[in-house]
Amino acid sequence: MKQKLIISVFLLCALFLIVNNIYGHKGTKKDFPSKPITIIVHSKPGSGIDIMSRIIADIAQRKHKVTMVIENKPGTQGVVAMNHVLNQKRDGYTILGVTKSFLSSVLVNATTVKIEDFFYVAEVMQDAEVLIGNKNTQVNDFNSLVEDAKSKKGKQIWAGPGTGGRDQLMALKVWETLGISGTWVDYKSSPQTALALLRKEAPVSVGNPGDIEGKADLILLAVAHPERLKKFPEVPTFKELGYPLEEYMWRGYAVANGTPIKVTTFLENLFKEIVKDPQFTSYIEEQGAFSKFNGHNNFQKKINQELHETKLLLTKAGLLQSYINFNPIQTTMIGFAISSLLIISIISLALILKRKTSITIWFSAGMIWLSLMFLHQTFSFIIPPEANITSPALIPRIWSILLILLSTSLIATELLGSKKEPIKEDNVKTIQIIVLTLLYFLSVPFMGFYVATYIFLSISLFILQNKNIYTIFVTASTFTIVCYLIFQLALGISFPTGILG
């Protein structure tokens, strides 16, 4: 008994400390920043902007006593990250790492996010666009590239990671300026693009100087920068070659519109200092890029101008066209109607055959329903005749037809096979726990992780034959405390705190 009391008091104290730590800062007004600033990065850990942001966070911590944490929100070429930032409190504690590629991704992707929704705080680096080739092929300098392109009459393969992104736009610009043409092949990622060049499959790719880092056979053919690069002094610029082409990628940081001006000024000054830091400049220059600071005014002006230019280019390339021809809700309704018909017919069939339906039959019917929905949608995809692609309907059609065939045969074997008596089970508890799980998952954003988890664990333990209040208390408390210790304290990642936070 005494032991139980001591454990209880100990757990209560720990819980109190955690509650105080997580929710205690409320209402205390201090100068910005009074808590860690989160940098949202639109790509996976290890990407260029991710590593750059981590270096910035490190400098901010050491030299300026500002704590920054990096959170990766990859998806839809930056749209997921942009949406996330717009949905946070506009207090400057959530900032977005931005790159020039965002200009095209918001235009190309069907999204409600706009470039204009953000306040662009500072530009921190610029990276020239370059043409990359393989020195062991015939196309080993700029002139041979142009000759090869002319002889292949539009069949020359230009490799790059992605469709509709900066690299493809650069390719389009080059073709226009030089009066040549080529075929853009999307190799999905930078490593795969580099491999395509290494195995001489594509003679040229578009990228940045850092892309050839460590790949001995790859060389730069031309640089879209006014001056030659310090790291690659032997590579000519487009200007020297007689073509007035300048194109570079930039990276910077932005906050959602409506963030207090005092905060944005603080951030702008912070970035100004960081860009000067030798640790930052040496990392950036190592990749053949430039650390370059532009404050809000210049940065914003530049973005407005480039957004206009990007729109023109994308429209010209036919990348802003819509390739689907349906209303999702209408299509879903049609799919629903088909499914209902199907299930009714299966029930009638079962009744005619005097067979009991089983969960297997229901599930297979569900699979047929799902496949029909998918199959039905594939007929509304429009594939432009000039596009050099494989139809996006091909694979989904294969899988959905396969699934329909397999499910139909399973239903047939089940209906025609021997009758099996279903095993009787106590399903009440199962349903209780399923509903409880759903409620728990949905309640976290409102109640916060710790509160919701505590409540969930207590109820769930109670349902699952554990009526001992002390065990419930100890389990729920210990789990919450351990989560806090591992995630918040040791790993430095935080859970949603909900309306209390």
Binding site: G46, E213, L461, P496
Partner: protein, 506 residues
């Protein structure tokens, strides 16, 4: 290279490691890696990214070693939660849970954890030997592995369905097709439109793999078993603390070695990764096993194969990074970043003698790879007792905690509540699958391989067309192996049936 030069290089490498800080860095990295790996939702890459800022202040070799230790530790750590609570902590541990979790249910988690640890360690060591000896041919393989071969590899991975679903082929194939079909959801970058998102903008990025796995494996297991909880919720389970004896590990030596070779080769191919390596080696282990019937019900071979493979992947993935400068995974991309911060660019130049290259770094890394595996063994042996203790609580407590862990795991993949909902939906799908007697693993397989198959088929058709798959020796060979490996279990099954049917007719 001359022998003396090699010895000098290894000696220079060894000298790099002979200090307290290097060992400390490796222990730290390994411990962080194991924890990150065991926590579902945190991938090896997240662990590496978290440690990246520390590398700024370390010497280049220590920086690299810290990240390598985290990576290797995480690949092992993923198996802990896969075995204990059927929640694979990493994609590479999915195959481990197929046989690891049944062992826990039989009250033998210690055996499963022990086999996983020893296989990881031995697999890691064999992978390291592969890295040192076969770096050049494997780098050539990586260069020549085109979209045709990636497609063929994906198809080869799919053939495991036929061996996973030996109880009912139709049900297994349905489950796999479901996974493959679901994987087509998401934004189509080539034509720039939302495919099968049904008006839900969060689906633009498709179904995330980890939340789906956690739902299908962990949540569905909870839902399915609730009706069967017998305990009163007070007494602890009696789990065996016995760890495997040498006599249990020794018979696994060929499986471990074979899987490590598969892991090293797949690891060297950029973008293929631990998930595919572990699946292929699991399949290969089952195909050649004397007791294939035990697979799926707690076979030790089924635990050893994927674990050996996913740790060999770590060494294998260093090959394209070090010899071509191409990072094949997110973790190696972070290593590339860490090296560049230290003004070292990986690639063939690294191997040149100083001052142009950094042979001491390369050879130091080679030696350190052996050391990390020994450290893994030490930390793993300490940790295993703890894990068994943790899961010996009553089922009611374990199941409640699995639900909360599912939330954490699916939430942290992208810190998004939508992923948590996906996890729940897959929990229900998994529950229905189990109720209907369908296997759940093929769904996961479809999710792992679907994107790789489609992306590379589409790219190949644009580049060359259908026939090229058969004209290229490598893709043709892989496809032929796939066909055999697909038909083999079915044929064996049919032949066995024939053998046994005559007496039944009589």
């Amino acid at each position: 290279m001359e022998m003396t030069e090699l010895i000098t290089n290894f000696y220079a490498g060894l000298m790099q490691l002979m200090n307290f800080s290097t060992l400390w860095v490796m222990f730290l990295g390994m411990a962080v890696g194991i924890v990150v790996g065991a926590l579902p939702g945190l991938s090896p890459a997240v662990g590496c990214a978290m440690m990246l800022p520390f590398t700024f202040y370390l010497s280049p070799i220590n920086a690299l070693l810290l990240l390598v230790s985290v990576y290797a530790g995480a690949e092992y750590g993923g198996s802990i939660s896969a075995i204990c609570i059927n929640t694979p902590g990493t994609a590479g541990a999915v195959a481990t849970s197929i046989d690891g979790y049944p062992l826990t249910k039989q009250g033998k988690p210690g055996i499963a954890l022990g086999v996983s640890l020893w296989s990881s360690v031995i697999g890691g060591i064999i992978g390291t030997i592969g890295l040192i000896v076969f770096a050049v041919p494997l780098a050539n393989l990586a260069i020549n592995f085109e979209s045709y071969e990636y497609f063929a590899l994906g198809i080869l991975g799919l053939t495991i369905i036929s061996s996973l679903s030996s109880e009912n082929y139709l049900k297994g194939f349905i489950a796999a097709s479901l996974g493959l079909l679901i994987m087509t959801i998401g934004y189509d970058h080539e034509l720039s439109f939302s495919r099968f998102t049904f008006g839900i903008s969060e689906l633009q990025d498709g179904i995330k793999f980890i939340p789906a796995v956690i739902g299908l494996f962990a949540l569905s297991e909870v839902f399915y078993n609730i009706a069967r909880i017998k305990d009163k919720g007070t007494e602890k389970k009696k789990l065996s603390y016995t760890f495997p004896a040498i006599s249990q590990i020794l018979p696994l030596k060929f499986i471990i070695a074979k899987s490590a070779i598969i892991g090293t080769i797949i690891g060297a191919i950029p973008g293929a990764g631990a998930a595919i390596a572990s699946i292929l080696s699991y399949n290969e282990a089952k195909r050649t096993s004397k007791t294939p019937k035990e697979f799926g019900h707690g076979s030790l071979e089924g635990v050893a194969a994927p674990e050996s493979a996913n740790n060999a992947v770590v060494a294998g993935s260093m090959i394209p990074l070090l010899s071509l400068g191409i990072p094949g995974s997110a973790s190696t991309a972070i290593m590339l970043g860490a090296l560049m911060i230290h003004k070292i660019s990986p690639g063939p130049d690294l191997f040149k003698p100083a001052p142009y290259g950094h042979p001491e770094l390369i050879y130091g890394l080679f030696i350190a790879f052996f050391l990390t595996n020994i450290i893994l063994l030490i930390l793993g042996l300490i940790g295993n007792r703890l894990w068994v203790k943790l899961i010996s609580f009553p089922d009611s407590i374990i199941y409640s905690i699995i639900v909360a862990t599912s939330f954490i795991g699916s939430y942290f993949v992208n810190t998004s509540i939508f992923d948590v909902i996906i996890c729940f939906v897959f929990g229900i799908i998994g529950f229905l699958l189990k109720k209907g007697g369908f296997p759940t693993a093929p769904v996961i397989l479809g999710l792992i391989l679907g994107a790789m198959i489609e992306e590379n088929l589409r790219l190949s058709l644009v580049k060359g067309g259908m026939l090229v798959f058969l004209q290229r020796p490598m893709s043709a060979t892989i496809l032929a192996i796939a066909l055999i490996s697909f038909l083999w279990p079915i044929l064996k099954h049919l032949l066995n049936k024939k053998k046994y049917t005559p007496p039944a007719i009589k």
